[in-house]
Symmetry: C2
Subunit: 421 residues, 2 copies
């Protein structure tokens, strides 16, 4: 008789089913805030099918008019790189992104399930990966703008997949790795508590209070200090700190990331100076970039290197002028549940919520006062950056101090050793 | 030791792999005629993944600029019926069909993989099924018109799936049923010959010769006689018989159905009279309709019944005024390879190519001389029907005789006992 002692056995327990159903319930109920009669557009890899079906069921139960899932097959993506001729690397399915934008304009909500293989494209030519990313970003832009402007309610949730689990736990058996990743997702997504939707409301209130505290401070700049990091990040004029949920312009309240532990705002694109070193690997479009070290002058990256994936980093910041400037700065205490788990998820949705981070590229106009009613020129005048990309990477740890600097130049501690003071 | 004597073992043979690769090769090379640099939009159920990947690889190898597959999950479709509120049954993802239409206008080719569960919706409320079909047909119409007008190159191929195989062979083990269905598909799709693309070219030439013979005859009407059938089908003025491949308006040659054994044309929507009985079950949008018996007067169905699925048939012909008139008539000899196999595929792509058939609903404008440059009014004046639906059903067998009737009223035999005279 075989003993069922492996971690993988968790996948066949009622507890697993219970958590998976709770994840679908909080995704629709707390994350997306789907309204009765609203259409839902979902994206997922094929490996996320089990969660897709739970969320689809949950959406119909609360009255969705229609649920359409656009699946991507990672193996088909690889076939493009392996067998495609030159023409393919600058192509994008613009018609599909335009269709999605139309759906949002018609009132649809948007749910993305993340669960990609973090190393899918690591063996592909970085020049080709960059060309594909650029073409895709350009085609996706009109649809993405409706999302980043919060015209509609949207959210991102995670589904454990075999390739993702293997990348995180290469030494475990496939089922054990998958079970361990699911447990990490459930804990971070607050599905393993008595009342998950209530837990999310309580957590959301705390993030709002933290953002309000920072908004009252009105810091002119933040100063990050730690091993390999001495960075002064000027804040955009009229910047706003946000965190947790938001009411979209369609009137529906959503929490756009599940999990979320961050408060974030818009830095000034021309007022970032100094050196910063990443504290966690960045999984960017199927490539791992590690040991990023970057120097800014007047907001612009003047020197960039990485111990791994440097070529992809280089291509990324060459996407356009805005790709070498900051579009976001975010503060996360080192005691957040995700950081406490000690897991490196190799997925931005999780890792950015385990540590303070910055993002190269496009700024969120919602993080500038009245940002959505300003023209692109007015936003730029306040310091908000523009780019085809928006790539978050982690600079926080328990060795990082953050000071807030007022307009007068006075400095006060905001975080010490990775924790709020 | 376990003997590998089951039919299912075929699925693990090099012969199976060889045929599957050949199917992908003829789909792209002979069926679709994909041009280097052309984009490809593919649709498939999730169960067709293995064929999707072969075709994707083949498409990239011949130079596709981009392959995008839109997958449908039949389990998610069922969730809509099981848990959806009233609002869902009149909803359709118009934005997605509009996006597809845009892709075709931009030059994309279209490949559909069929392999659906023939009984998926058989337990659902026929009224709801009909509402969904109506909403979907309406939303799909602009994209479908680009296809039926042959503005672009397109084709349909088949992939064996577990649910389809089970419906065909309910008494076999799952793997045996799947293997048997695959063998039927390979034989009908001419993939098990030395040079499949050459075999398709030869077959295509034969279908063209047969269509030309009928075009030279210029019959005013066809008369079908057999058990339960005595039907006179008037032909549209300036009707054209087509069969096999065609050069689309984008200049690319394609064979739109794989398999195809039929020659087909446009009947006159007001000149169909008599009674006709189906000779094979019709699998329509997840419901099996059997023993259809219909009486026409002046082109219009005045009485319709079926021994099974009658309610779905009734809803179908109530879709709109054109749904109770004919849009297509097709001749197929009873000795066609599909009929010879003796298999009932429960899938129109196969079963319509095993027997003479008629279609209710929309006519193909390509089956009228200069049809694509005529206005809708001009097409209607020639007798071409208009509808949201186009549903083929089988009326041929080895007991059916077909006479051709000239404008003067003279009659001559065209088929006897299901074979060309």
């Amino acid at each position: 008789m075989m003993a069922m002692s492996s971690q993988g056995a968790f996948l066949h327990t009622p507890e697993f089913e219970h958590n998976l159903n709770n994840l679908a319930a909080v995704a629709i109920g707390a994350g997306l805030g789907l309204a009765p009669g609203q259409e839902l557009v979902m994206t997922a890899t094929l490996d996320a099918l089990s969660l897709v079906r739970r969320i689809t069921e949950q959406a119909y139960k609360v009255g969705a008019s229609l649920v359409t899932t656009l699946f991507t097959d990672e193996a088909s993506t690889l076939l493009r790189y392996r067998h495609g001729t030159e023409a393919t690397f600058d192509a994008a399915s613009g018609w599909l992104y335009e269709g999605m934008a139309q759906a949002y304009k018609n009132g649809a909500a948007r749910l993305a399930i993340t669960g990609n293989d973090p190393s899918l494209l690591s063996k592909e030519d970085p020049a080709k990966v960059s060309r594909v990313n650029r073409a895709t970003s350009k085609a996706y832009r009109p649809a993405l703008e409706l999302i980043t402007r919060h015209d509609i309610n949207w959210t991102i949730v995670a589904c454990a997949t075999p390739a993702w689990a293997k990348a995180m736990f290469p030494d475990l058996a496939a089922d054990d790795a998958l079970a361990k990743l699911w447990q990490g997702i459930f804990a971070a997504s607050r599905t393993n508590v008595a009342d998950p939707v209530a837990a999310w409301k309580e957590h959301d209130a705390k993030l709002h209070a933290r953002a309000e505290w920072l908004n009252n401070k009105r810091y002119y700049a933040l100063h990050f200090k730690g091993p390999g990091t001495d960075l002064r990040v000027g804040m955009a004029d009229d910047h706003l700190w946000l965190g947790g949920g938001t009411t979209a312009h369609n009137g529906l309240y959503c929490i756009p990331n599940m999990p979320t532990e961050e408060v974030f705002s818009t830095p000034h694109k021309d007022r970032v100076d100094g050196t910063v070193t990443s504290t966690k690997p960045l999984s960017h479009m199927g490539t791992l970039i590690e040991g990023i070290c970057v120097r800014f002058e007047g907001g612009r990256i003047v020197d960039a290197k990485a111990t791994r994936g440097g070529e992809v980093l280089q291509k990324m910041i060459e996407t356009d002028e805005g790709a070498r400037r900051l579009g976001e700065v975010a503060l996360v205490p080192h005691s957040s549940p995700i950081a406490s788990s000690g897991l490196l998820f190799l997925n931005t949705l999780f890792d950015e919520n385990a540590a303070c981070h910055i993002a190269l590229g496009q700024a969120y106009s919602t993080c500038v006062k009245d940002g959505n009613s300003l023209t692109p020129e007015q936003l730029a005048a306040r310091g908000a950056n523009t780019s085809l990309i928006h790539v978050d990477w982690m600079i926080g740890s328990n060795k990082i101090d953050v000071d807030g600097i007022s307009a007068s130049g006075a400095s006060e501690p905001v975080m010490r050793a990775g924790e709020w003071v």
